[in-house]
């Protein structure tokens, strides 16, 4: 009981912490890659790709992450050997798929925030479309995209806790283990809260600073 609940279970906390960090890294990598591709689809001149991107974003954004996770973890195995993965894999993929929708919207609004005058000026200088994008539009879009993207990544870090539903090792799941083990829920949760703060507070500070810099650059 008491503080010893945390100190005695330090190894369990560390194990959970590593699980959360791994899920965050894999989920973020997947979400950034897929989200950027989706954003490209949503701003492309090709109508069907735009519609496909919109459908993906609206569906995934409005589907609760816990539902997506259990749908994948308990639904996919019914589709045969090919889809029989580990629970960790289901969790990581679900987290990536879900947050890709939010990454897409952040990137798309970044591109939308660059005024058309910038593109027109670049074109009047004779730059071809590729250079307009590469030299004028995307560098500016990148700048506005950083703060909202950072917020998506912070949300992703917290949302990795969803894997506790399918019993994958992370901070939240290990909290339940420690609660069962020590019957000291107050300090068990307190330790986990500290573990999450260790991750999310520095991320929040970093995003806040980037945000200020982006605001000055305008």
């Amino acid at each position: 009981m008491g503080l010893s609940t945390i100190t005695d279970n330090l190894d369990v906390y560390v194990e959970g912490f590593v699980g959360t960090v791994t899920l965050t890294a894999l989920g973020a990598a997947g979400a950034l890659a897929l989200g950027t591709a989706l954003a490209a689809m949503r701003v492309s001149p090709v109508a069907t790709l735009r519609a496909g991107g919109l459908l993906y974003v609206e569906t995934l954004r409005n589907c609760p992450l816990p539902v997506l996770v259990v749908l994948m973890a308990f639904g996919l195995p019914k589709l045969g050997e090919t889809f029989l993965w580990s629970f960790f894999a289901y969790g990581a993929v679900a987290i990536a798929l879900y947050h890709a929708a939010f990454v897409c919207e952040a990137v798309r609004s970044g591109i939308g925030s660059v005024s058309t005058g910038q593109g027109e000026a670049a074109r009047s200088l004779g730059l071809p479309f590729g250079q307009v994008l590469r030299l004028v539009v995307l560098p500016q879009a990148f700048r506005t995209v950083i703060p909202p993207l950072g917020n998506v990544l912070i949300a992703l870090t917290k949302n990795t806790s969803v894997v506790a539903l399918i019993d994958v090792t992370d901070i939240t799941n290990n909290t339940e283990l420690i609660i069962n083990d020590t019957v000291d829920p107050i300090f068990a949760v307190l330790g986990s809260a500290c573990a999450y703060l260790l991750l999310t507070l520095p991320m929040g500070l970093l995003v806040g600073r980037l945000e200020k810099r982006a605001a000055f650059a305008r």
Binding site: G52, H99, N151, L165, I186
Partner: protein
């Protein structure tokens, strides 16, 4: 239209032809992916009628309706509580009394940085020890959701207050209103009205997060879906039905948020809407 076309010359006949060809090719690829998914589902026998008929029967319908009812009830109560606590915390952060400011700031920064699932677990397992009396699953879910979302709502409302021109406060002071009256009668109504789109967007988040109630055994929509899936052995189907219900309800609420956003822009002009956004962090205050 925020397509890249805004940054290129208008398409000529060749460009339009290319776009059309691309559109058809892209459409075929997407249809192909959809077809492949359906083929895999059909191959595994997951599309067979009798795998769906039990769940979509009147009995099944009643079950899901009950689950949805529990979900909406928990969400509604959590939203009402979170907005109330959030308003208090927002005013606390704007208070002229430093200790009040510190307390409110600590509350907001702490609970915003934690996963709502952990807070639900806290409310369910730790709160009974702290209070010395049992906490029902329903209360635990509502309390957990309230702790997290009140912090987010507080930030949204605070941003709304900060986005108002200083003249509003000055005019209220000039009229001889006390500070509490100024906040209550002049500042808050305008702040809430301006931030309504973000507030509604955050309500969608609360609604989605009620699904975490299933981990503590509260019989909301997801939990009901699990039970129905396990009794009929049609797990995939049951979860698909649950997902479709959630998507429909959340989409409806998201559409309200979008409509309100358009209204705010029409009412206050783009610059006002952008002014609200100029406060750091507001554009993404609705945290998934």
């Amino acid at each position: 239209m925020s397509t890249l076309l805004a940054f290129s010359d208008p398409l000529g006949p060749r460009g339009r032809r290319k776009a059309l060809v691309g559109s058809i090719a892209g459409g075929l690829v997407l249809l192909g992916l959809l077809g492949a998914a359906l083929l895999v589902l059909a191959d595994a026998g997951q599309l067979d009628g009798d795998r769906w008929s039990d769940l979509l029967s009147p009995d099944g319908f009643e079950l899901y309706a009950r689950g949805l009812g529990s979900t909406l009830r928990a969400a509604a109560v959590a939203i009402a509580l979170a907005i109330t606590v959030g308003t208090v915390m927002a005013l606390g952060r704007l208070s002229t009394l430093a200790p009040v400011r510190w307390l409110a700031t600590t509350y907001v920064q702490l609970f915003r940085a934690l996963p709502s699932l952990l807070l639900i677990i806290f409310a369910f397992f730790a709160l009974p020890d702290l209070l010395g009396r049992p906490v029902t699953r329903y209360s635990a879910l509502v309390i957990g959701l309230t702790l997290y979302n009140s912090a987010v709502f507080a930030e949204i409302i605070r941003a709304g207050v900060l986005s108002l021109p200083r003249g509003q406060t000055e005019a209220a002071v000039a009229l001889g209103l006390r500070r509490s009256q100024t906040q209550r009668l002049v500042i808050l109504p305008q702040a809430v009205s301006r931030m309504l789109p973000s507030l509604v967007a955050q309500m969608v988040v609360v609604l989605k997060d009620t699904a975490y109630g299933s981990i503590i055994g509260y019989e909301e929509l997801l939990r009901v879906g699990t039970i129905a899936g396990e009794t009929t052995a049609d797990v995939l189907q049951s979860y698909v039905i649950v997902a479709v219900i959630y998507i429909a309800v959340c989409f409806a609420l998201s559409s309200v948020a979008r409509w309100l956003e358009g209204r705010t822009t029409r009412r206050y002009g783009r610059s006002a809407a952008a002014g609200a956004v100029a406060v750091p962090g507001v554009e993404d205050l609705a945290v998934h």
